[in-house]
């Protein structure tokens, strides 16, 4: 995704005042879009309600007013058409940034995504590339009704040719979105809905650089076990790590930042250090991202493991209605329960392992 460079940075806009201020992640994303539109005239935003309304989550707030309705365009209500026409625009030298209104409403565009977006470069042996970013407000935990809280990363993760990025911090929201837009490959960019309103001391004119996608971040050092996560579950894992201290566990927390490319190196190093690991994500566990993560770590670190890698994920059910979503989603308790099941007594070889698959 890095166009040859190993670190992609975007400098502070000239004349911007330094210093950080309390900002929501939505504002950081908005700043990334604004700066991308400003820095590169080929960037074009399109989607449902991204114009005057500024998107249902206001991520495109003010952009149509500032850059005109050609650069930030409301489209007809048809997701396959939005992505399909964006493909055509990308074929013709533009850098479309598409907004899908919610995870579930990206499904109508699935054929375009799998059969074209992911394959055009490979099909044409690199002659026709698609510098295309697909922004998807992602995940649950916001009390929304059916079809508004899906987590779809496993579908995209299994589709070779797509990059798959998911920020968990404000700096990454800004930095990874700028990188994604600058990438010459298509990127599915998952925006954790429940973090949109999270506040942090952050400003786009701070010269903070973020690592490129494909590099995981160790967000907390620990020695007892490693929590591996991304996006909306990072704050949860940090809270769990905090709570675990009381139980006597020092948990390491790894934020993957991108699922494709996957940073085996950082993840494996962290797991080897602690010998135990739990993968945490919101989407259904069965055949979810956590399965791949657990399987590949086990392949690589088997003899460093004191216990099987466990998963704390959403239940294997359709996403529940708002009043019950708390029972579905990973929680600090479930994470601590999983950590407790990491076989702290070593001599149980041969015994039966009870695992709930979560």
């Amino acid at each position: 995704m890095t166009n040859g460079a190993t670190t992609v940075t975007f400098s502070a806009p000239a004349g911007a005042s330094p210093g950080q201020r309390s900002t929501t992640m939505a504002q950081a994303l908005n700043a990334a879009l604004r700066d991308a539109l400003r820095d590169d005239p080929t960037v074009h935003i399109m989607g449902e309600d991204v114009g005057a309304l500024g998107g249902v989550f206001r991520i495109t707030d003010g952009l149509a007013a500032e850059f005109g309705s050609d650069r930030c365009a409301d489209t007809p209500l048809a997701e396959a058409g939005i992505l399909g026409t964006a493909v055509g625009m990308a074929m013709n030298g533009l850098r479309p940034v598409v907004e899908m209104q919610f995870d579930s409403f990206a499904y109508p565009a699935f054929e375009q995504l799998v059969s074209h977006v992911a394959r055009m470069r490979n099909r044409t042996q690199g002659r026709m590339t698609l510098p295309l970013t697909i922004r998807i407000p992602y995940g649950g935990g916001i009390g929304a009704v059916e079809h508004h809280s899906d987590s779809s990363e496993a579908y995209y993760m299994h589709t070779p040719g797509l990059h798959l990025v998911c920020p968990a911090t404000h700096a990454d929201a800004y930095g990874l979105l700028r990188q994604s837009i600058a990438s010459d490959d298509p990127v599915v960019f998952l925006e954790p809905k429940r973090l949109y309103w999270s506040k942090d001391q952050w400003s786009s004119d701070s010269s903070e650089q973020v690592d490129p996608a494909g590099v995981a971040a160790v967000r907390r050092r620990g020695t007892s076990a490693t929590l591996i996560t991304y996006g909306p579950s990072l704050p949860l894992c940090m809270a769990a790590a905090e709570a675990a201290v009381e139980e006597g566990w020092q948990l390491e927390v790894v934020d993957l930042r991108s699922l494709v490319p996957f940073d085996d190196e950082t993840v494996c190093a962290a797991v080897r250090r602690t010998g135990r690991a739990v993968v945490v994500h919101e989407s259904a566990g069965f055949a979810g991202a956590g399965a791949e993560i657990a399987a590949r770590i086990t392949e690589r670190c088997f003899h460093h493991l004191e216990a099987p890698i466990l998963r704390v994920a959403g239940l294997d059910i359709p996403y529940p209605p708002p009043m019950l979503e708390g029972r579905h989603l990973p929680s600090v308790d479930r994470i601590l329960d999983a950590v407790a099941r990491l076989q702290w007594e070593t001599d149980i070889r041969g015994g039966e392992v009870h695992v709930a698959g979560l």
Binding site: G51, P108, P320, P321, M323, A356
Partner: protein, 382 residues
């Protein structure tokens, strides 16, 4: 060398007519101006009881919209998409159907479901958030409200085809918004219905907006009903704020479908007077003076005025309708006095006919969690 045997080509071949039967597609085009009945002599031909019944439903419908919006603002509903200004369409859609018929509503059409007999609290289950859906679809023959836009239209068509295959007399009325007509599913559904001559009526409520996007950004068509021609089915255009006109057009379409004439595509021109939902800020994308303009064609107002003019309604009758609507609202309010507490264990009950071993494991985990919580609470209370 030539590739062709000239002998195989008779002299007249070039001018031979193509074997394409070409009837005149113009007959399928909708009327040039939206059909109106209220305020015209045709209104006088309506049965007075029907007129009064429609008035009551439209009037109560407005009260329902106000009440549900209030419940949403109080947080008793997670969200409410109102049909304020669209009550004529909602009521007529339900009113034209016979018992055996089916209604396929969108997420917005709780009112149509209620007019068809669905318990309002159950119609609003998805908005309240205790489950995805409330009522038994088979009881009042109303499919679940569909949130993914236009996806319910192929369901409606398949349902109608099945009815025909089973020799049943069912007609299906499928609702969709102006925005929803841009989805591929709309196109595929109408096409399947046309090819199968399925007994379906498609009602497009053109309320001017898809959230913030105005019709002009949705289509360059002169009327959404013009799309009918491309499927070889008739289109109709009607004033969606005139309940009699909507009733008449839908009634004709339902009869046509029942008689084996196949689908009809109806565009009802109306206007969404409220924001998209209670959490929308419509001042961002529309001039509120436009709303004011449309308030003057408010379907409730227009109906009351006309029926008063026709002598069908007087102050007493309106007073009585208001009382009845108020009762409806009071009852609804009362039923929202207590928040539901859905049983978490139901999360596993209906994923499959029979739980997979994997779900049984997860069920056990949740049960244990709940037990531990209850115990902890018990301990606290001691």
């Amino acid at each position: 060398m030539t590739l062709l045997t000239h002998d195989s080509c008779p002299p007249g071949a070039v001018r031979e007519p193509l074997d394409v039967p070409r009837s005149d597609p113009r007959s399928l085009l909708p009327e040039r101006e939206p059909l109106r009945v209220l305020g015209t002599p045709a209104a006088a031909e309506y049965d007075v009881d029907l007129l009064r019944a429609l008035f009551q439903e439209v009037f109560t419908g407005r009260r329902y919209n106000l009440q549900a919006t209030a419940l949403a603002k109080q947080g008793r509903l997670a969200v409410y998409p109102a049909t304020t200004g669209q009550e004529a369409c909602e009521v007529a859609a339900a009113a034209v159907l016979s018992t055996q018929d089916w209604l396929f509503p969108t997420y917005r059409d709780t009112l149509a479901a209620i007019v068809r007999g669905v318990d309002p609290v159950e119609a609003l289950t998805v908005m309240r958030g205790d489950w995805h859906h409330g009522y038994d679809p088979y009881e009042h023959r109303v499919a679940p409200l569909s949130t993914p836009l236009a996806t319910q239209l192929p369901h409606a068509v398949g349902f109608a085809r099945a009815a025909r295959l089973k020799g049943e007399d069912t007609v299906v009325l499928a609702m969709v918004g102006d925005g929803g007509t841009s989805e591929g599913d709309f196109h595929e559904a109408v096409n399947f219905a046309a090819v199968w001559k399925a007994p379906v009526v498609f009602l497009v409520q053109n309320n001017g907006f898809a959230i913030s996007v105005p019709l002009a950004k949705q289509t360059a068509a002169l009327s959404l009903a013009d799309k009918a021609v491309g499927f070889g089915v008739p289109g109709r255009l009607v004033d969606g704020n005139d309940v009699l006109a909507v009733h008449q057009v839908l009634d004709e379409a339902v009869s046509r479908a029942r008689d084996g004439g196949g689908p009809t595509l109806v565009e009802a021109v109306t206007y969404r007077l409220d924001p998209h939902t209670n959490s929308d800020d419509d001042s961002r994308y529309r001039d509120l003076s436009e709303v004011e303009q449309w308030r003057r064609r408010d379907p409730v107002l227009v109906l009351e005025r006309s029926l008063r003019g026709m002598g069908v309604l007087d102050d007493d009758a309106v007073e009585q309708a208001a009382r009845s609507a108020e009762e409806f609202a009071a009852n609804l309010r009362k039923r929202y006095n207590h928040a539901p507490s859905p049983d978490p264990m139901t999360l596993f009950s209906h994923v499959y006919a029979e739980k997979t071993p994997q779900l049984r494991e997860q069920e056990a985990m949740l049960r244990a969690e709940l037990r531990a919580e209850a115990q902890a609470e018990g301990n606290e209370q001691q």
